[in-house]
């Protein structure tokens, strides 16, 4: 590789890195990630919900049992 080609490659890699970082920061800002807070541009990020599971890890009983008065408080 010639010195000229090496420098071209170096510039190319550097500019990709700088552009990528800039895009990441803008994206983070729009999503309200912590980095975004310092720019003053942050938007409130929607809460990320947990997904449900199909199977309950405990025992599942029929609904009719619920007709009893519960002893719980509140």
């Amino acid at each position: 590789m010639t010195r000229r080609k090496f420098i071209q490659k170096l510039i190319k890699t550097g500019s990709v890195f700088v552009t990528g970082t800039w895009f990441a920061r803008v994206w983070a800002t729009l999503c309200g990630w912590p980095e975004g807070r310092h720019t003053g541009l942050s938007l409130p990020r929607k809460f990320v919900r947990a997904f449900r599971v199909k199977k309950y890890p405990g025992y599942v009983r029929p609904l009719q049992d619920i007709s009893k008065q519960s002893k719980w408080s509140g």
Partner: protein
């Protein structure tokens, strides 16, 4: 891959196969999952709304009450520890997804659903989806919670909530840490946000002998409430009973609760109640204007309700609440 749950101030970092502190939010293959969605361990059709306690919300009505196992706090004095401190795999639940729960409420003509007993914060997604559906059907939604939640999910949930009873357990961060494994500030923030959102807010303070029953503690709590939530916010001083990991303390005496009520009234709060213990005046609602009796209660029973269109029949003062 480790995941972080952003629901409550604990911000649990959860390893694969593990759960957060609440026991019900689990990392399954790098994805945060709630294992209690649609699986309540308790569905109670008989609760009066006064049991929540809510004294300024549709008095005398029954409220369909649901809970799942788990809690993000671990209060040593928890009254519902048998469900709040239980792992889902050791528990029994019914399959009742939001659609079925709302259908049930509709079929039996409930005016409202309460997400209660353990803490609706930890079954957030189930509460949120049910509340959204219930709102569409004209059914009101009530939270009974310790208010230990981050602001963003809280704001999103409040959009579908009509009323909440939120615990302000202590006015001391140290006691929150020692007794509940929580902190004070997030609860105060949740209270302020709830009130600012326009929903009906009532506050409960469990008075525990030797911990938070000193006059200066009661005064500080009442002052904070009046300054930050307004004098019209109902405050319930609830009597403690030896439970769970706090069986060495005696129950709260009626005298202590009456003292707490007197202090809070002298600090300028309009509606201060006594709960968990039978009391004469402490269960009634009085007009803050003319001091006349408005709602007379005995336990959870309404003996008389003199309110007219949400106002005092004697001096026409508007009374804070949801009355129809």
């Amino acid at each position: 891959m480790t995941v972080q749950c952003e629901l409550c101030p604990k911000m649990c970092l959860i390893e694969p196969g593990q759960s957060g502190e609440c026991r019900v939010r689990i990392n399954i293959d790098g994805v945060l999952r709630t294992v209690v969605y649609g699986f309540p361990c308790s569905v109670n059709p008989y609760d009066p709304v006064e049991k929540k306690p809510l004294f300024h919300f549709l008095p005398g009505t029954r409220i369909l009450s649901v809970a799942t196992v788990g809690c993000n706090l671990h209060c040593l004095n928890c009254q519902n520890w048998e469900i709040s401190q239980k792992n889902p795999e050791e528990s029994t639940a019914a399959f009742l997804p939001p659609e079925k729960l709302v259908q049930l409420a509709k079929r039996y003509r409930y005016l409202s659903i309460a997400y209660t007993y353990s803490d609706p914060i930890i079954f957030y997604e189930y509460t949120y989806d049910t509340a959204k559906l219930a709102r569409k059907e004209g059914i009101r939604n009530v939270l009974v919670t310790a208010g230990y939640i981050n602001p963003q999910p809280w704001k999103e949930l409040l959009e579908y909530i009509d009323a909440a009873n939120i615990d302000l357990k202590f006015i001391s961060d140290d006691l929150y840490r020692r007794i509940c494994s929580g902190t004070l500030k997030p609860v105060q923030n949740a209270l302020v946000l709830a009130k600012a959102s326009g929903i009906l807010v009532e506050v409960t303070n469990l008075v525990i002998p030797t911990l938070n029953d000193k006059p200066e503690q009661i005064r500080e709590l009442a002052r904070w409430l009046k300054t930050n939530l307004g004098r019209e916010t109902p405050l319930h001083f609830s009597g403690f009973y030896p439970q769970h990991k706090m069986r060495h303390l005696p129950p709260t005496s009626l005298k202590t609760l009456e003292m707490a009520r007197e202090i809070a009234i002298s600090e300028g709060l309009d509606y201060v109640y006594i709960g968990n213990v039978r009391s004469n005046e402490g269960e009634n609602t009085y007009c803050p204007g003319c001091k006349g009796l408005l709602i007379e209660r005995k336990g959870y029973t309404i003996l008389q309700n003199r309110l007219k269109e949400g106002c005092c029949p004697d001096c026409s003062q508007e009374i804070y609440g949801v009355w129809k």
